[in-house]
Amino acid sequence: MSSNVIDAPRSNSAESPKYKRSKGSGSSFEMFAWLFMRLSGVVLIVLIFGHLFVNLMLGDGIHAIDFGFVAGKWSNPFWQFWDLAMLWLAMLHGTNGVRTIINDYAERSGTRITLKTVLFVASAVIIVLGTLVIFTFDPCPAGAVVDLPSFCPVP
């Protein structure tokens, strides 16, 4: 009779849903991730539209943007902080969004782990590089002559 026993249709395939749910970790990480998405979203609306308004609308607007304009902004701690906050919040917000999409759509744990590793490495690289640029930026590079901000010493 044992040869007549039929497995449940999806029990042996790789994409079958698990009958037993994996035990929870007891951490509130998902709750804080959910909360972070809402709070960072609200702050990002202010940061991004403020950024766009100052860069594209004020003064000469888009025609004023050149190396000197950006260098001038980044010599001011206020704009350094603004851009740093925008970089970190946008990157973490976007990374967490893509993380949830991977969790929702990747069916195999292998695919899920691979995709999330690529995502986290890429995000870490961009956050570190961006932070370095904001803090180590030299507004008056030696040898440059065009588009320098007005406060640079004349060579």
Partner: protein, 265 residues
């Protein structure tokens, strides 16, 4: 965000079959031909599912369940589906009709587009056993995990546990659940790997979390704070649209989220 019309969100075209205003007056009930396109699966014959069409003449007062009965009793006795009460109370016959989760016993044929075959499939995300029957065990496992029963730490009272009308109203909506799985099996997050608790388990947790007589709300909130708990809800509202009892499921899930936040912060 613009809404994309899919089979699930598009409204059914208006019915072309009109019932006489006073059927009780003995007027003749109109009949029409319908084709039922049923997703058949029999693991003893083949691992592949196939579509099979059944055409029959039905009355304007008939439901999809009546058509399934007619097929099983008169055309093909091997057609397999669940139904118990056949009146929308037991929750046995949830199935995917024209791409939407509904109860076959509450869906009138005349309200569907009878010019095209009516597709009938098993609900998604649960393992199919035969034809329209799925294995409900993963669904009930989630249900059991939220402890869907009254937990009271006080002394057992000599009379009934009193509750005001307002306290009862707080969780009235989620008492309507009949565990048909139409919501959970309409949830795209549940389809992926079946690990998400699913809307039905959260609805039944909500029913006790907000019950003033119950003392285990904190334990249920702790369970639903799991990584597969309420935070996986993407508020797509599929569950609310699928619920044959009209429970505002997405709202209930949001209320559980707020309760967890209020407790943790």
């Amino acid at each position: 965000m613009s809404t994309v019309e899919t089979a699930e969100t598009a409204p059914e075209p208006a019915s072309k079959i009109e019932l006489p205003a006073h059927l009780g007056g003995g007027g003749e009930i109109p009949t029409f031909d319908v084709t039922l396109r049923v997703r058949r699966y029999n693991p003893e014959v083949s691992e592949e599912s196939t579509w099979e069409d059944f055409t029959m003449t039905m009355y304007g007062t008939d439901r999809v369940l009546d058509a399934l009965h007619k097929v099983k009793w008169e055309q093909d006795g091997s057609l397999t589906f669940r139904r118990s009460c056949a009146h929308g109370v037991c929750g046995s016959d949830a199935m995917r009709i024209n791409g939407r989760n509904r109860l076959a016993c509450k869906t009138l044929l005349k309200d569907l587009d009878t010019t095209k075959p009516i597709t009938v499939e098993p609900i998604k995300g649960l393992p199919v056993e035969k034809d329209l029957i799925v294995d409900m065990e993963p669904f009930f496992q989630s249900f059991r995990e939220v402890m869907p029963f009254l937990v009271n730490r006080g002394h057992e009272p000599a009379k009934e546990r009193l509750q005001s009308a307002e306290q009862r109203e707080r969780f009235d909506d989620t008492t309507k659940c009949i565990l048909c799985a139409a919501c959970t099996s309409s949830c795209p997050v549940f389809w992926t790997d079946g690990q998400y608790f699913g809307p039905a388990a959260i609805v039944n947790a909500h029913r006790f979390i907000f019950d003033s007589r119950d003392d285990a709300g904190d334990m249920r909130l702790e369970i639903l704070n799991d990584k597969e708990g309420v935070w996986r809800c993407r508020t797509t509202f599929n569950c609310t649209e699928a619920c044959p009892r009209g429970i505002q499921i997405t709202q209930a899930i949001a209320e559980v989220k707020q309760a967890i936040l209020a407790r943790q912060l």
